[in-house]
Symmetry: C2
Subunit: 287 residues, 2 copies
Amino acid sequence: MFYLVGLGLSEETDITVKGLEIVRKASRVYLEAYTSILLVDKTVLESFYGRPVIVADREMVESNSDEILHNAATEDVAFLVVGDPFGATTHTDIVLRARELNIPVGTVPNASIMSGIGAAGLQLYNFGQTVSMVFFTDSWRPASFYDRIKENRSIGLHTLVLLDIKVKEQSLENMARGRKIYEPPRYMSVGTCSTQMLEIEEEKGEGVYGPGSLAIGAARVGGKTEKFVAGTLKELCDADDLLGPPLHSLVLLGRRTHELEHDYVRQFAVNQETWDRIWKADYQGKQ
Amino acid sequence: MFYLVGLGLSEETDITVKGLEIVRKASRVYLEAYTSILLVDKTVLESFYGRPVIVADREMVESNSDEILHNAATEDVAFLVVGDPFGATTHTDIVLRARELNIPVGTVPNASIMSGIGAAGLQLYNFGQTVSMVFFTDSWRPASFYDRIKENRSIGLHTLVLLDIKVKEQSLENMARGRKIYEPPRYMSVGTCSTQMLEIEEEKGEGVYGPGSLAIGAARVGGKTEKFVAGTLKELCDADDLLGPPLHSLVLLGRRTHELEHDYVRQFAVNQETWDRIWKADYQGKQ
């Protein structure tokens, strides 16, 4: 059987009891390590599981999935995914491939950032579609997130923004020369995300949001050092020191809010006076 | 410390290793048992945890939370929530109360239906706001879900519909007479939900959806007997036998879809020919 096992969001003990039983019994255990990361190293997982774990990079999963699925019709193979197996990214491709090969598939759900973000204190009911933010370069500044946020805000909904991570990436030069040398990993911060968002608003000028729009920066959601910082987008441009190390995410508020959310999120505000003033003017009682 | 511990969606082994450690060590363990249920009984949990569990009904949580929080500043108290602690319903109220009492709060995330529904094969990115469907009565047919679905569909998004559960409810007569006699639990099925949705569309006539709109019925998501049935809303009115026992949820598709989703969800179709024909006409390539 081929098992997709969610690992949750942060530490080795975030795996479920059901998931751990599968990992301990499987013939081979792969760790998908390019769409997200845990806050602990592979060695911590191996010592907790009491067995070796094979890191599966994008190339292996996307181009060589039959290697992962090898013999899974007769043996148990576990494929570990940070968060939920069908969460922040889908792994439907490898499941479809398994079905083609008549391999039975089991999944073990776990916390995903898309539900875990509820810990920031906003009702999950009122989130719209989720968007992704990639690192801008001089020549590549994809802004499709802007129209998505516009849609969400037009009907009053919050937007969860998932931030780029770059692991095992080659420089253009190394790629051109066919050298398998990889750059150090990079994780986008709330500060970079807020800055890029304001740059695109500046360019497009449609007033979808602005420097005074309220947002929440989230760091290490679900982990022991989980941290939320609430403020205006402008304030969040400079809040990385408060948030600390990766992973970060961001929520841009929609106008559909509840007084209880105000009270709850307020405790995370950079500046509670600013928070109260803008909340009252732009959010409170707006449906 | 006051811990909110997510139990995940179905069986006793869906708790995380971290959550189980807290449950085994805490002075008291409460189970919130009115917003959702696991697929196993309290006795199964007690035997798995090796300790008694106190059932917390709505009255206790909403009117008597200080009893739950008693001594939590000096002892560990665990409050178990099906799904994620901040998932399908929020428990921000009791957390705010704990903070007022200067009780430190910890949360242990877990799978929620709002992320677990990804197992149906639709990208979670493209879900809009979540709506709830309650049992209609002759005099009470709340239809606010209709406008929410309209908003989601206007921007191409899917809608997750969470279905009513009634546990520990009194009949009007017993309530009037002050008799603490409770009705047997009731769980809404996909068939009832689809029927109510079509009734409201019939009444409102705005064409937000119709009998031929595509949807997915989901049963026991994340459990060993998880089951999905895809079809038109009309087909889903009669699919309860295929889906089996509770809990059920429903997803109404938005037009923003991907070919991979077609292939994946198709395997669950009541009638693959109908599915393909409607998908091609109304969904494929629509952004």
